[in-house]
């Protein structure tokens, strides 16, 4: 039985203001920048994606910079039709292949098609599936439908880990974000994720905070850990450090690994690399030294 949890926006904003006022520097900054790279799901989700583009992104995933020692990213996130390419490019590496599925980004298709698409992506070698929830059904109050659908996709995933995209930019209120988080967690989500990146606003700190609270309370009740992935709109190191501080203060150190926290981003890694150079050299590199892939 999922309960409606009231959320007070202004107090959430107060808490976020305290998080963004935290000063991260020195060794902690160095550690967190590195950690953020290792937590990134490098993403390309465009209609114009090609095998060539995906291949190059995979190279970047394995070696985000040739100038400074950086760990590989967590995963590469692509459309189902590019899973095979990515799997091939990333064999024998720690970088996972994640595939969006279930009629991404709108999710407006039948459950059968969604399950088939999921199975195909997993069959092609995807280790992680990023699904979207049916926001129309959610906003119409058909919570059981939404929950059952997530459970069905989870089943179709088999051993692949399931990330459930709530598309918080379409949900309207923080209470809806919380309710959708609770439904997804109850239905078996391994991760909950803010956004597709196709809708504005995408990930924000207040939304992420509310989702982290849902995760924290579920963990306190059941002992089951659920991961978190803010996605879309996170492009600077400073933002990434705010997110990691938030995760630390709400969930604790246990979540500060790429098994339980991810950034869904395409350009964030470039800024992280730039800042890591700055930490080492004391001065900024020319931006042209950072690869744009």
């Amino acid at each position: 039985m999922i309960k409606w949890v009231p959320i007070d926006q202004s107090a959430v904003d107060d808490r976020i203001a305290r998080i963004t006022a935290r000063s991260i520097k020195g060794a902690l900054k160095t550690d967190l920048l590195k950690l953020a790279v290792s937590m990134t799901d490098l993403t390309t989700l465009e209609g114009k994606d090609t095998a060539g583009k995906v291949m190059q992104l995979c190279r970047k995933a394995l070696q985000p910079s040739s100038l400074v020692s950086v760990p590989p990213v967590a995963a590469v996130c692509v459309y189902p039709s590019h899973v095979k390419t990515a799997v091939q490019a990333l064999t024998h590496s720690s970088v996972k292949v994640a595939s969006v599925a279930t009629g991404f980004p709108s999710g407006n298709t039948s459950l059968k098609i969604k399950c088939d698409e999921t199975k195909r992506a997993v069959g092609d070698g995807a280790q992680e599936v990023d699904m979207v929830i049916s926001r129309g059904k959610f906003l119409a109050g058909e919570y059981a439908y939404v929950t059952d659908e997530i459970a069905a996709i989870k089943n179709a995933c088999g051993r692949a880990r399931l990330k459930v995209i709530l598309e918080t930019g379409e949900l309207g209120t923080l209470e809806h974000v919380r309710l959708a988080s609770d439904l997804a967690i109850a239905a078996g989500a391994d991760f909950i994720k803010t956004s597709t990146g196709k809708i504005q606003p995408a990930a924000t700190l207040p939304v992420t905070f509310v989702m982290l609270e849902a995760i924290a309370e579920h963990y306190d009740k059941t002992g089951r850990q659920v991961g978190m992935k803010p996605a879309g709109g996170i492009s600077t190191s400073k933002q990434a450090l705010h997110y990691l501080t938030l995760v630390y203060e709400v969930l604790g150190q246990r979540w500060l690994t790429n098994e339980w926290f991810r950034f869904g981003a395409s350009s964030l890694v470039n800024d992280l690399v730039l800042q890591m150079h700055k930490q080492q050299l004391g001065t900024y590199y020319n931006r042209d030294k950072i690869s744009i892939d």
Binding site: P6, K25, Q253
Partner: protein, 479 residues
């Protein structure tokens, strides 16, 4: 990887503190007659900060007379629009010197730089801006009532918000055409003296604002002099009672903003995670040295246990330490006397059989620090529920019904502030109407605005500061 914040301190040099400070009388900084001084210390490390002139009785008379002649000579005659220009100028100069004032405030008073930088100093400037706007509109605030200044006002402010309380007092007084003698608390005189520097730099006519520093004797001689037309005091109830006795039988006006023991009520239908945030902000803001601090938490029994767990969890993330560090949430206790008093209350809670919870944080070795503290299983009869502690100590009681909560909330001798958390609007209005408190926050806590009046009931004092109500306290009004 270990998540540990690296030290991120503001540089103490920014405060630009002089070796000695004089009294600010008639537009000039002067030594005390007799040359007596006292020392002000940094409560975070007990280090000497500056020597400050200790005003004699002769000095307070001088200051009051300077205020009197400045009032009669220039200030009373000046148009409201001109007075407003000076206030705008002071406000802007506070903003220009904001960083210096913030660091000085944290050094002298122990409060975290996050608060002095983001709250005390901007809010002080905001009060000058706000009342600057009223200076030429007093007739509109009180139409047909011929508002006129009272004359010389003696203002005595406490050590918890030294600059902000000075701004709360000086800005409306000047806007209304009064002249001022301000006495800051002896523990924290520095930012009031810096404000005097700003006032000097603004070319405010000499004598319009005077600052006399020193201990209780200075305050006594101000209160007992014939010159002031009004005494405005913010501080302890004990001293407030003394002042009220002294003023009785004279025609002096009086406003008192005294202690508090605010109830913070959380109902079962509240946004609980955010209520935790409000409770933390309500009691641990400025180490709990806040007269309107939400120091009595009243929890509905159905949600009490879970709420306390959430609160403890949140408290574990609070950083206690160097006030100048940007990551510090809770700084140093303002002074030794207060440090002992808070510990005394915690012990008294223990002796009464309450459960004490303190975060297992490592406190700095030097200076006065107290970890954020909960006193669990408190009852209305507990001493820590009835008396003001003025520290980072929260007593927690439970209640069963809304009526019981209201009854308990009102069952103390104070009535300054209160807080209510509920998602139901009608329930909030029903409760807040019945709380005997001057300020009531709903679904938030410790929010301030210059336009909003502030003041108490019962032993928390009388008179309002802020907003149009704040003008009323500094005007003769014929209705």
């Amino acid at each position: 990887m270990d998540f540990k914040f690296a030290p991120a301190p503001e540089s103490a040099d920014i405060a630009d503190i002089k070796a000695t400070y004089g009294l600010f009388i008639d537009g000039k900084f002067v030594k005390a007659t007799g040359g007596k001084t006292f020392t002000t210390y940094n409560p975070a490390n007990s280090k000497h900060l500056a020597k400050i002139a200790d005003a004699s009785a002769a000095d307070t008379v001088k200051a009051l007379k300077a205020a009197q002649s400045a009032g009669q000579g220039v200030w009373k005659k000046m148009s409201g629009a001109e007075r407003g220009k000076y206030l705008f100028r002071i406000a802007r100069m506070i903003q220009e010197r904001a960083r210096e004032l913030a660091v000085a405030e944290s050094l002298d008073g122990g409060k975290p730089i996050r608060e002095s930088r983001d709250f005390d100093v901007p809010m002080a400037a905001a009060h000058f801006f706000y009342y600057a706007g009223w200076a030429d509109k007093l007739e509109y605030a009180f139409p047909g009532a011929n508002p006129a200044p009272l004359g010389v006002v003696a203002q005595i402010v406490p050590w918890n918000f030294p600059l902000l309380m000075a701004a709360w007092k000086i800005a409306p007084a000047l806007a209304c055409g009064n002249t001022v003698v301000l006495k800051p608390a002896e523990q924290t005189s520095l930012t009031a003296l810096k404000l005097a520097e700003i006032i000097q730099d603004c070319d405010l006519p000499p004598g319009v604002v005077n600052v006399v520093t020193g201990g209780p004797e200075v305050g006594k001689s101000l209160v007992n002099s014939d010159i002031p037309a009004k005494i405005a005091f913010t501080g302890s109830t004990e001293v407030g009672k003394y002042i009220q006795k002294q003023v009785a039988g004279t025609d002096k006006h009086l406003t008192l903003e005294l202690g508090g023991k605010a109830a913070h009520i959380v109902l079962e239908d509240a946004a609980l995670n955010q209520a935790v945030e409000g409770v933390v902000n309500g009691i641990f803001f400025n180490q709990g040295h806040v007269c309107c601090a939400g120091s009595r938490l009243l929890l509905q029994e159905s949600i009490a246990d879970g709420f306390i767990e959430k609160l403890k969890k949140r408290m574990r993330t609070l950083v206690v330490g160097d006030p100048l560090d940007k990551n510090t949430d809770i700084g140093a206790i303002n002074n030794k006397e207060q440090f002992k008093r808070i510990q005394h209350f915690i012990n008294s809670g223990k002796e009464e059989g309450l459960t004490v919870f303190q975060c297992p944080t490592k406190l700095p070795d030097n200076g006065y620090f107290i970890a954020p503290t909960l006193l669990l299983n408190a009852a209305q009869s507990s001493r820590v529920v009835q008396e003001e502690i003025f520290g980072p100590v929260l007593s927690i009681q439970t209640f069963r019904t809304v009526d019981e909560a209201i009854e308990k909330a009102n069952n103390v001798s104070y009535g300054l502030s209160a807080g209510v958390w509920s998602e139901k609007g009608s329930r909030i209005f029903n409760i807040t109407r019945q709380l005997n408190a001057g300020v009531v926050w709903a679904n938030t806590y410790n929010k301030f605005d210059p336009a909003s009046p502030f003041g108490g009931y019962k032993e928390s004092g009388f008179g309002r500061e802020g907003g149009v109500h704040g003008l009323h306290a500094y005007l003769k009004i014929n209705i």
